[in-house]
């Protein structure tokens, strides 16, 4: 399982966000360049239609594939009251022939995307991964070198933290606290419930950049 929140930020404020994340996490940023393929099951295969994602971080010295299944989100009154999505995730590493494998067993490519940006991975009451990426589409199949931005002025911010059925309230609490630090720059909410950019972002970014960022915290 994992806790997840997403938000968007204007590209002009990404540098300030990076300074803030650097100060909060105390770890160096990692470059990410993730090629993500979304596959869907073909007609008549499976109890219900299913979807699987294949991810490959091309920024790694030796890029390798990960199979990712995003499951249903937690339901119920308790889940509705929190501003963070808790959902099941199953991941497995896979060899380089994974795309051919899924094509052969009856899955078809629905869409592909290249996410380019950076990530911070750190421990802060939970194991956080914060990614700031721009979405890029490929003009030709798998042509990652020719990818062009989908929304040039906007980047996606995503915070994820693994959790279990037993500890998710603690992880939700840790993620909620962390989101508050970022609130002047961006608003984070459950995926699909985007609340847009925040009006204070410009001022907050200017303040962060002029005061040396992390030192003010």
């Amino acid at each position: 399982m994992e806790c997840v929140v997403q938000g968007i930020i204007e590209t002009q404020h990404v540098e300030a966000l990076e300074v803030l994340l650097q100060g909060l996490s105390g770890v160096p940023k990692e470059r990410v360049r993730v090629h993500e393929l979304c596959l869907k099951s073909g007609p008549n295969l499976g109890v219900v239609s299913s979807e699987v994602r294949l991810l490959c971080d091309l920024a790694q010295p030796t890029p390798s594939w990960i199979i990712r299944h995003v499951g249903g989100s937690m339901r119920g009154t308790g889940a509705e009251q929190i501003s963070i999505l808790v959902r099941t995730i199953v991941e497995s590493k896979a060899s380089n022939n994974v795309l051919r494998y899924f094509y052969t067993i009856g899955y078809k490519l629905d869409h592909e995307i290249l996410k380019v940006g950076f990530a911070f991975r750190f421990q802060r009451g939970a194991q956080f991964t914060v990614t700031v990426t721009s979405a890029n589409k490929m003009p030709k199949l798998h042509a990652t070198d020719e990818a062009v931005q989908v929304t040039p002025g906007i980047q996606l911010v995503e915070i994820t933290a693994p959790c279990t059925a037993n500890n998710y309230p603690d992880v939700v609490s840790a993620v909620t606290s962390f989101c508050e630090f970022l609130a002047p720059l961006l608003h984070l909410s459950k995926p699909g419930n985007s609340t847009g950019i925040v009006p204070t972002a410009g001022a907050a970014a200017a303040s962060l950049m002029s005061s040396g960022g992390a030192k003010t915290l």
Binding site: P43, L45, V48, R100
Partner: protein, 225 residues
Amino acid sequence: MPPAKWLMHWHPNPGATLNSQILAEACGCAESLGGTKDGRWKTSIFFYRPIARETSASGAQQQQQPPDVPRELLGVALHERPGLYFSILRTQRLVLQADAAFPQVMEKLQSYKGRVALNFEGFQYQLGDFCLRIGKCVPNNSETLRGIMMEVEYYPLSSIEKSRAIMVDFFDIWQETLAKKALPGRFIHVESNFAEFGLSDHYSYQHTAVQYAICLQQLMTAVRS
């Protein structure tokens, strides 16, 4: 890089039946060659079949066979690498290496269902530069003997080509020793065409997974005939 390995299966003589005495004799043979028993091992193979979606046509529930999908997937969990999992499409000559969470992904997708599991299990012997594993093949939920097989591993070499001569020599000695027991059958090594699966001369765990898939096919054929 793991050492080169051969898998052999027991081929009973026409009319002869499988029994655990053959397994005991083969283990005795390993000991008579100077092998020292140093533990147990277990490799498992899982069979998956596609699940057809139920569609409602003219008010009646119908099941249509999914078009152009393999009739069977094999999952292999090797004793020597419990963190890995292999999925094999025999007809398409494809072996996927994944990690132990892969069966959970398949379970979530609900497009293929695990039907039967077969276990290959037995004893392991150290014999100089060789490691021998002799075992039986039994269904997960019963003790019905489906086959007998062995693994021979040669520690110093990872190249299949370079290890071939020494494997052949070892196999000859093994067959000679076993022949003295006058058992109703013999061990057979069927060479797998690794290149068809896109695998190189350097031995890997994927080679072992492919050998298990081939060995299983041979065992099933031997039992049927």
